[in-house]
Every structure is written in C-alpha cells, then in structure tokens.
C-alpha cells in the first residue's frame, strides 16, 4: 500500500489487513512504555490545511508511538495563510525529507492530486478532504464495530445525518459494504447527494424504521453553516425527525452500539443521555483511532521498507 486516499480503493483483504494490524499495534497502548521502534528515522509530516485538533493529535500520537519523527504543519500562521499553494507547500515538505504526508484539506481530491500530480514522491495519507473521504475515520469506525460485533458480514449499520457534506459517510459506505455490512443511510432528502441511489447501501427518510433491530447507528455531525442554509426548517425539527434520543436508541438490537465521529452537537443530532449512555462507544472510537492510524502509517511506510529486508509482521514488531 503506497498511499491511503479512499476506502473505495481498498479490497476486503487490504481492509482486513489494516484492521488486524491495528489490533496488533494497539496492544502497545496497554503497555507502560507506549512506543515501538518500527518507524525510527522516518519522517511523517502532518499537513493540516483545515483545523482538526482530534485527527491531528491522533495522527501525531500514532506516528510517535512508532518512533517516527513528526512535523506538524497547520495552515494558520504558516506560509499557507500567506497564499502559498498546495504544490509549493508539498515541495517544501518533500525537500525536508518527508517519507509520508498526512494531509487534511478543504478541497475534495487534494490528497489524490498530491499523490498523482508528480509534485512529490512520498506516501500520501488522506486525513479528510473536503466533502470527499476520510478513510482513517471509516477504518477506526470499522475497527470499533468489529470489536463489539466481531463479524461485520450481514450486520446492519445505520448512518444518520448530513450525508451530502460528509466525508465520513462516503468513506464508511464504501468500507462497510466492502466488509459485508448492510448500510442504511437516513437523512432529510435535502442532505442526500444526487445519485445516492447508486451507492452500495439502502436509503431511508424514516429513522425509526431504519433503527428497528439495527446492530449499530452512526450519527453524523450537523455543521453550523447548514443550519441556516435552508437544508431543513429548524434545528428543532431536525432534532425531532433525525436526532437520536433514548426512545430511538431502544429500537436498536440488543448489544447494538452508538457511534459518532465527533465533535458532537449534544441535543441536536444526539441527546446527552445517549451520548453518555451504555451503548455509546464514542470515547473508544478515539482510542481506536490511534491504533488504526498506527497501522496505516506502518503499512504505507514500515512494511514497505521491511519488505526488502524480509517479511516482518506487525505482531513481530510489537513483540520486538
């Protein structure tokens, strides 16, 4: 795996390899010294053109636990805010010896462009691009689902909210369907993209019906700017029709879980008692995010270097 740009690029075997590797590497988190030497001497650059504290910190922690050198480059107060282009920023970082660039960008396709334009030769990991994809978020969601539900094959997962603008939804629909889950999207029609009927999932406007007997529900954040743009009449009406409260959560199957990629609007798409309730795995998602990102960095960088020196599995890396 050279880059990670989109979950739709992943075969079932590749996706499972990332998740299994994450499980192995995650064991280091339970140790007193949370560090592996795997990526010693390698440089990972976090290139964040958009504010995202949690994703940035998660990637930083992942790279550091693998002993990589980490350079974080945020748009604010940098040359980017002075009008430097994506290309020039990328060239600068490559000149500093980056082996992998983790990029978060407001433009859909920016990571794809970085990987395919010939500007740089390093690996590119998509940390969220515009309204396109957020593959590591989907991988950590799948990781969390697997921990609770074991097998994803045939499991019913409901994704609720602003699908139109959600990179999380796009990445999850592709990945979960590759892994055999049955995905249902629920949203007001205004927040579903044209052509959603061609996606590998079901679509419903009726949250109660979709939740009945489902194994998991993932609530998407409703961005503030959507609330005033005529996508729906009021936050109150949205919350009533598409919010998750205890009554709705009770419709889920026994043992079902509630996910949210964060940050949450408590009282809007999710009520506080559900967010903090027994089905909620929202905090676990954050922990799992580090493991999954370690696996991704390991596979795009570490595995590549070690391939030539002979196979070294993640399990060996952890026991070393």
């Amino acid at each position: 795996m050279r880059h990670l740009l989109s979950t739709s690029d992943l075969t079932r075997d590749e996706a499972l390899l990332i998740l299994d590797t994450a499980a192995e590497l995650g064991r280091v988190t339970d140790r007193a010294v949370k560090k592996l030497p795997t990526l010693r001497g390698r440089t990972v650059v976090n290139l964040f053109f958009e504010d995202s504290t949690r994703t940035r910190i998660s990637f930083e922690a992942a790279a550091k636990r693998l002993s990589a050198d980490v350079i974080t480059f945020s748009a604010k107060g940098s040359s980017v805010s002075k009008g430097e282009s994506l290309k020039d920023t990328a060239l600068t970082l490559e000149a500093m010896g980056a082996d992998a660039v983790v990029v978060r960008h407001h433009a859909s396709g920016a990571p794809y462009r970085l990987a395919h334009s010939g500007w740089v030769g390093c690996s590119v990991v998509n940390a969220g691009d515009g309204t396109h994809e957020h593959p590591t978020q989907a991988l950590l969601d799948a990781f969390t689902l697997r921990e609770h539900l074991r097998e994803l094959e045939g499991r019913r997962v409901v994704i609720v909210g602003d699908v139109l603008h959600s990179r999380v939804a796009r990445s999850n629909v592709a990945l979960l369907s590759t892994l055999g889950a049955q995905v249902t999207l629920v949203a007001p029609p205004t927040l579903l993209p044209v052509g959603v009927d061609t996606w590998p999932c079901a679509v419903s406007y009726d949250l109660d019906a979709a939740l009945e007997g489902a194994d998991a529900v993932m609530m998407l954040r409703v961005q503030n700017e959507r609330m005033n743009a005529a996508y729906f009449p009021s936050t109150h009406e949205y919350s009533r029709r598409y919010g998750l409260d205890t009554r709705r959560a009770a419709l889920l199957a026994d043992g079902a879980i509630v996910l949210h990629p964060g940050p949450m609007n408590r009282g809007m798409e999710i009520s506080a008692d559900v967010a903090d309730g027994p089905r909620s795995v929202i905090v676990e998602q954050v922990t799992n995010g580090v493991s999954v990102r370690m696996a991704v960095l390991y596979l795009v960088l570490g595995a590549r270097a070690e391939d030539s020196a002979g196979e070294a599995s993640a399990a060996e890396a952890v026991s070393a």
């Binding site: 739709s8 282009s85 994506l86 290309k87 960008h105 407001h106 433009a107 859909s108 396709g109 920016a110 794809y112 462009r113 395919h116 334009s117 691009d129 515009g130 309204t131 396109h132 994809e133 990179r167 796009r170 993209p193 044209v194 052509g195 959603v196 061609t198 996606w199």
Partner: protein, 428 residues
C-alpha cells in the same frame, strides 16, 4: 499579391484552382487552367473552407497578458483556421466602454493574424446591475454587435429583458452565459452520481436549462434575438429545438470540448478538466452532437480560455475554469462530427463559419467560396493526424485537455482577405 491554390477541394468537393487577388477570390477554374501566382500553394487533396469564425474567445488582453495576449491568441486562432474571433468582455478592465472595445479592436488590427471583434459587456463591470453603454460600443470603431457578460449569467430577468430590447436599435444580440447563480453556488462539476462520489459540489443541468427557457421566452416576448453561449446539456438542446420550432429568434453554440469530453475526467481531480459549464455525461455529449448535426445548435464556438500555469497546477477547487480551444477546435469537430457522418464539409463551413458570422453580423466573413467573395479561407488536410503537444501550441497558456491525444485533420494554410496568415501549418 496574387495567390494560386492548385487543386483545392471547396467543401471537400471537386478540385479546382482558386486565385486570390486584391482580397477577393479572383477566379475559380478547372485544375491547371489558371496562370501561376506570386505564391503557388499545392492544395491537392486539401479541403477548402471559408475562414472559421469563433463567437467565443478569451484573449485575456487587457489585464491577464501572462495568460494570453491579442498577439498570441490570434496566432493560435489563425493556426486553428480562424479568420475572425469574438473577444470576450471579461478582461481587466472589463470591455464595457467604447474605449476598451476600440483598444481591443485596434490591437487585433495591428496583430493582423485574424479579425478581432470585441464582445461588449452587457452590464457595467459584469456586475449585472446597470446596462453598459451598449450603443456607444455599437457606434464605436469596433462596431460591436455581440454583447455578453460571459463568465457570469445576466440572471436578473429585468436587466436581461431590457438588454434584449435595447440592442434591437442597432441589430445587436445578447449572448447569454446560462447559469442560474443560486443553483450553482460553489459548484465544481456536473451534478450527478459522480459528483456525489467525488465529493465535488454539483452543477445541475437545470441551472443552465432554466435560464435558457426563461430567455427564449423573454426574447419572444420582446421580439429580440438571443444567443445561447456554450450550451452543454441534452435538456438545453431540447429547449432550443422547441423554441426554434415556435419561431423564436434564438441561436446557440456548443464548444468542441462538450462535443467530446465527459465528466468522468473530474475523477482525476486535475483542474485542466475544470470548465464552465462543466463537462457533462455521455448522454449530453450525444445530444449536443445530434443538435449540432440537425442545426438546432447553430455554431461551434471554442470558449478558448487560457489560464496561467499556476491557476491549473493545483487542487481542483482552487483551479480556474476553462480550456484552450482555438488550435484543436476543427480537429475535434472532424473527429466527432465529420468522421461519424454527422456533418459533411458544407456542414462544417455552415457551423464554424457562415452561421457564426451571421450571428455576429460580420458582413465579410463566412461568405460562399465564389468569385468576387472575400478571400478569407482555410485549407485543411482531412487525412492528417497529429498529437497535441501543449508545449508546441501558439497560445501563451498550456491548459489544453487534449495533451497527448491524437486528433484528425490539420490546418495547412489560412488566408485573411487574400493574405496568408498561416502557410504549411506555421504562421506566415
């Protein structure tokens, strides 16, 4: 200077010798029967057409001379077989006064590669609020007849109505860039299944079609003529076809790129494929070809839109809209229309020269190939094939979507009122 074209095939038909003298076609006769000229061109096997007329060219001067100048843009035009281009008004400053249009017109005359007819802005500064001095531009040395806020839609229905009415006084035409602005806020590509997957904000067909429908009805109501720029959807073709069947005075153009390229190219996230209106679906491509073949669409217009390298060598959202077109237009039309039997060479002459000249009210362009007519002509090698190399284009910019692509037919020579502007495929 007397020029003799030996054995040229007017409209791809029977070969004749054609003599050009004093700016007009002086004689046409059976091969080998006319005396030699000061310049003899062996046109054996070459198709002779009236010089091409482009209704829609961005020459970028004044203001963005780093992307194109009147000199480089008209060189590209001549090499593409054009003898007249309409220079769009969205320059800096905007061509919304007699002063600016006269400057553009004069620079065109000085360059001398083809006629440059400035398009006047409909509204001051393209702002869509106040009519520009359309009459002053019409009365200027540039004799403007085509008015457009191209790049921006004249979306206010009252302003559009007034513009359509006002230009009747001097037989002008409003060339509408049909794009409902509210339906296309932040739009990046055609709206459909692919835009949803790519996460690029969609540009619905209805945003184009709704404006065209409104404007043909307005034109009918006020008894004026309207021209639709770069129509791109199957629905737009239907609306124009319906309007024409009702006798409404509407004309329409399609770009070469909308005849051949589809939205799939957005999947590369390479802004060289980013254009306004966006590339559409295969269904739309087939519909515009059909519309051009049956005459619903009157003209092929390039929408030649040069952009500086840095405005395309970036992420999709940051990229500028637009593609080069002058040097590849004829080849794309041959590839999509002539090779498939949708148009013959008379059809090409009609859609790329005669009708655009009539729409622009250019008296001495798009004329028949006949003795006494202006000698603005192009010789085309229909059997040639060439591979587009952006570095070898005459345009100052490189943003062609056809880089590396093999295209049929090549312009061999272009003549502007009897004077060669291109010979042997290079600027004369």
């Amino acid at each position: 200077m007397r020029v003799l074209l030996r054995s040229a095939r007017p409209y791809g038909e029977e070969p004749v010798d054609v003599a050009l003298e004093n700016g007009v076609i002086a004689a046409m006769a059976a091969p080998g029967t006319l005396p030699a000229g000061d310049l003899d061109v062996d046109a054996t096997g070459l198709v002779l057409l009236p010089g091409l007329v482009d209704l829609h060219t961005h020459l970028r001067e004044p203001g963005r001379e780093d992307a194109e100048t009147i000199e480089t843009g008209t060189r590209a035009a001549a090499l593409g077989g054009f003898t007249a281009v309409h220079a769009m008004a969205n320059t800096q400053p905007v061509a919304d006064t007699a002063g600016v249009v006269e400057m553009v017109w004069r620079r065109g005359v000085e360059a001398g590669h083809c006629d440059v007819h400035p398009v006047g802005a409909v509204t001051v500064g393209l702002a869509g609020e106040h009519l520009a001095e359309l009459g002053a531009m019409a009365d200027s040395a540039a004799r403007v007849r085509v008015f457009s806020d191209d790049g921006i839609c004249v979306s206010d229905p009252v302003i559009m109505r007034r513009a359509l009415e006002y230009v009747k006084a001097f037989d002008g035409v409003i060339a509408q860039h049909a794009q409902e602005p509210r339906l296309t806020q932040g739009a990046q590509m055609n709206e459909g299944a692919l835009s949803g997957v790519l996460g690029l904000a969609g540009w619905p067909a209805v945003a184009e079609e709704a404006i065209i429908a409104r404007d043909v009805l307005l034109a009918a109501h006020v008894g004026s003529r309207v021209h639709i720029c770069h129509l791109s959807t199957a629905g737009s073709v239907d609306i124009v076809r319906y309007a024409k069947s009702r006798g409404i005075d509407v004309t329409a153009e399609v770009t070469p790129h909308h005849l051949i390229l589809t939205e799939d190219l957005a999947g590369t996230y390479d802004p060289v494929y980013k254009v306004n209106p966006p590339l559409r679906t295969e269904t739309d491509v087939m519909a515009v070809r059909e519309g051009l073949a049956d005459g619903t669409i009157d003209a092929v217009a390039t929408d030649h839109a040069p952009h500086a390298h840095e405005d395309k060598d970036c992420e999709w959202a940051a990229g500028a809209f637009g593609m080069l077109g002058l040097e590849t237009a004829l080849s794309v039309v041959v590839d999509t229309m002539v090779s498939h039997g949708r148009l013959d060479w008379r059809g090409v002459a009609d859609r790329m020269s005669e009708r655009p000249a009539r729409i622009g009210r250019l008296a001495d362009q798009g004329r028949p190939i006949a003795v006494g007519e202006p000698a603005s002509l192009v010789l085309v090698d229909p059997g040639a094939s060439w591979t587009v190399d952006p570095g070898r284009l005459a345009s100052r910019s490189r943003n062609t979507p056809f880089a590396g692509r093999a295209l049929p037919a090549r312009v061999v020579a272009t003549f502007l009122r009897g004077r060669p502007t291109v010979l042997d495929g290079v600027i004369a």
